[in-house]
């Protein structure tokens, strides 16, 4: 009986064109739109650009010359080098803002910068690294010059990482948050499938509910089976969305993609249970229940920053309780913490919150469906 209910609920949901439209196609379309809108910004702002640097070399130093040549050539160059004949000329370039820093190589290695910033940090890291590895580079050049390109490439990559790490650090990257929000929205919108649990099992909600009420299948089994089917579809929807973003649109979720799937699918389960609870609490037609579910899902998405990214930090600051109780924000936060933190503590915290919310929503849903007396049938 359980499997009969589960199987056919799954079939009906997957064949429902509204479900396919809103929980699979719409997120794909919105994700594609985000990708198209943000790709230029990614290219211009986030993609690593060589740092304009003036070089003043007053003493002959083949090692330094070779290293500078290596880090300033190719598509993945670290520096965009301008050679200056004198310190004055280099300072003028720096003053005019044409370069971010001046590296001077006479007896020693010197660095002059105009202001603090990301490029300055990298130039400082570069000079420090050069000084610590000068001997190694010198030895390599003397003993095995073929290995020098590999050595300088490693140097470039390490220094670029300084910039990349900083760029994806927390809220300074506003673009990936839109994709996090999109996934959270899909999870929350799974609530529409949760409404079916009530519509299909309550005698006063639909002819199907009444018809099933006449059958010898216990209501608890029937409700659990339909709920399990809806949970599975909620998980499938979020998993499809993650896959589409990660593998079709090539959105970079970092190295923890497996956990992104896990959080998204848990969110799908929570959203479905939320729909079950809404369906049992809200009296009236399916349209009314659906409207309430959509307002909560999309309203929650708005508050977690789907439409305006800056709204979430404001809410976190001014009304942290709203953020803590907003299921969409909870799902969204799990992605943030996965992206921001080196450890999993806060991520696990959000996963536990989702689990608790799921249990709560499901329990309320069951309590209110069992209380129905069908006086208005």
């Amino acid at each position: 009986m359980f499997f009969n209910e589960f199987r056919y609920n799954l079939l009906t949901t997957l064949r429902d064109r509204h479900f396919i439209m809103w929980l699979i196609l719409f997120p794909m379309a919105l994700g594609s739109l985000f990708k198209a809108a943000f790709s230029d910004i990614y290219e211009n702002d986030i993609k690593f650009s060589p740092i304009p640097t003036a070089i003043v070399q007053t003493q002959k130093d083949d090692i330094f010359k070779e290293v500078i040549r290596s880090v300033s050539k190719g598509k993945d160059a670290l520096l965009k080098v301008t050679y200056a004949d004198s310190a004055e000329e280099a300072e003028k370039l720096l003053k005019d803002g044409k370069v971010a820093g001046v590296i001077t190589k006479d007896g020693t290695l010197g660095l002059t910068v105009a202001s603090n910033g990301m490029d300055t940090t990298i130039l400082k890291a570069f000079t420090d690294r050069y000084l610590t590895e000068e001997k190694l580079i010198k030895d390599t050049l003397e003993k095995d010059p073929m290995k020098l390109p590999a050595l300088t490439a490693a140097l470039k990559d390490d220094l670029k990482t300084v910039k990349k790490v900083r760029l994806t650090d927390g809220v300074s990257d506003p673009y990936i948050t839109y994709f996090f929000n999109l996934l959270a929205m899909v999870a929350a919108c799974s609530s529409v499938t949760g409404l079916n649990v009530v519509m299909q099992n309550q005698a006063d909600q639909s002819p199907l509910g009444a018809r099933k009420g006449c059958s010898p299948t216990p209501k608890l089994i029937s409700t659990l089976a339909v709920l399990a089917g809806c949970w599975l579809t909620g998980m499938m929807c979020t998993a499809i969305s993650v896959s589409f973003l990660a593998f079709v649109l090539k959105v970079d979720f970092g190295s923890r993609l497996g956990f992104v799937y896990l959080a998204a699918m848990m969110g799908g389960i929570m959203g479905t249970s939320m729909g079950f609870m809404i369906g049992s609490l809200v009296k009236g037609s399916y349209e009314k229940k659906n409207a309430v579910a959509m307002v909560i899902s999309l309203g929650g998405s708005f508050l977690s920053g789907l439409m305006i990214a800056d709204i979430k930090p404001d809410i976190m600051e001014k009304a942290p309780l709203v953020n803590a109780l907003n299921p969409t924000a909870v799902v969204c936060d799990s992605f943030y913490y996965l992206n921001l933190d080196a450890d999993y503590d806060r991520f696990i915290g959000k996963m536990v919150t989702m689990l608790v919310m799921t249990v709560l929503f499901t329990a309320v849903g069951f309590i209110f469906t069992r209380r129905k007396k069908y006086a208005g049938l």
């Binding site: 009969n4 056919y8 079939l11 009444a210 018809r211 006449c214 010898p216």
Partner: protein
């Protein structure tokens, strides 16, 4: 003597001030096709919903197969087939899948279920539509699917709540024939309708309801015997002088004679050869006689006589 399959005693159901069922008592015996006849709002569907424990009630008791009916009486429910007034099928499933789903609510054995589904499809004549989705079916075929979903598990008691609403005559006949066949195969049937012709055609015993009360019960012959009218004679005439009309009205066993729009209507109560005696009077006065019909009393006449109103609205 056949056992009672359903026993309803003193059933009262109230919605606030409105009494939907007023001390309703019914006994339905094994093998019967029992008709619940009444106008819209008379309490037929409320009776069915209480019977199936879909509705709670204020007073009374319901026993099915000799046991108390309740929402958790699954051992009783497994032997009941229900065909609701509103078609209850999944739009996203095919004909075969729908029947398989509903059959699966009752039968867990796969092989038995498959056999039952096949038999149900054949029974309602949907063999050529098994892969169709409900929205591709006509109203009549959809009703047949609804019936197949309700009877696939071979129930002992079948409850049909107005199964022919908005159905074309061909499908209606098919449905009624099907119900008779189910009864011949051993099922007890409860059939609600406000179509008196259907109830007269298939029901072995009938209860007439109005305003939540049972106002009459019996076989159709017993019910018709409750009316004063035994026959109504209609004769088309170009003209009918008042003295002739009075003469006809004075004939024995004729208790009412009217002449309206060129039609003489004479209502008879008992007696024999009433038509011949009316025609003899007309011939005696050398009147030109047109079409002549006689109408036997219907359940509508029974209802009309008891309640003073028609059983159903003209547009029905």
């Amino acid at each position: 003597m056949a056992e009672n399959v359903v026993e309803i005693e003193g059933l009262v159901k109230r919605y606030g001030e409105l009494t939907a069922l007023d001390h309703l008592t019914l006994e339905i015996k094994e093998g019967e096709v029992f008709g619940l006849l009444g106008p819209n709002g008379s309490g037929k569907t409320t009776t069915i919903n209480c019977l199936l424990s879909l509705l709670s009630y204020d007073k009374g008791s319901i026993r099915i197969f000799g046991r108390e009916m309740s929402p958790t009486a699954y051992d009783i429910k497994k032997d009941i087939g229900v065909i609701m007034q509103n078609v209850a099928v999944f739009e996203e499933l095919t004909v075969q899948e729908n029947i398989d789903y509903f059959c699966g609510l009752y039968i867990t054995d796969k092989q038995k279920k498959r056999q039952c589904v096949e038999e149900a499809i054949k029974f309602v004549g949907l063999e050529d539509f098994r892969k169709f989705r409900p929205k591709k079916l006509s109203g009549g075929l959809l009703r047949r699917l609804n019936i197949a979903c309700g009877i696939a598990h071979k129930p002992k008691l079948i409850i049909l709540d107005e199964p022919t609403v908005a159905v074309d005559p061909q499908s209606r006949n098919k449905i009624l024939e099907g119900i008779e066949e189910l009864n011949r195969n051993g099922a007890t049937v409860i059939y609600t309708s406000h179509y008196m012709e259907e109830v007269e055609q298939i029901c072995t015993r009938i209860a007439i309801m109005d305003r939540g009360r049972k106002i009459a019960e019996g076989t159709k012959e017993e019910l018709k015997a409750m009316t004063k009218n035994t026959e109504t004679i209609n004769v088309a005439l170009r003209e009918l002088p008042d003295e002739v009309l009075n003469e006809i009205g004075a004939l024995s066993h004729i208790y009412s004679a009217e002449y309206t729009d060129g039609i003489l209507t004479a209502a008879c109560s008992g007696g024999r050869h009433n038509l011949i005696r009316v025609l003899e009077v007309l011939q005696k006065h050398d009147l030109h006689i047109g079409q002549v019909t006689t109408v036997q009393p219907t359940l509508n006449d029974v209802f009309l006589e008891i309640t003073g109103k028609a059983l159903r609205d003209k547009e029905d």
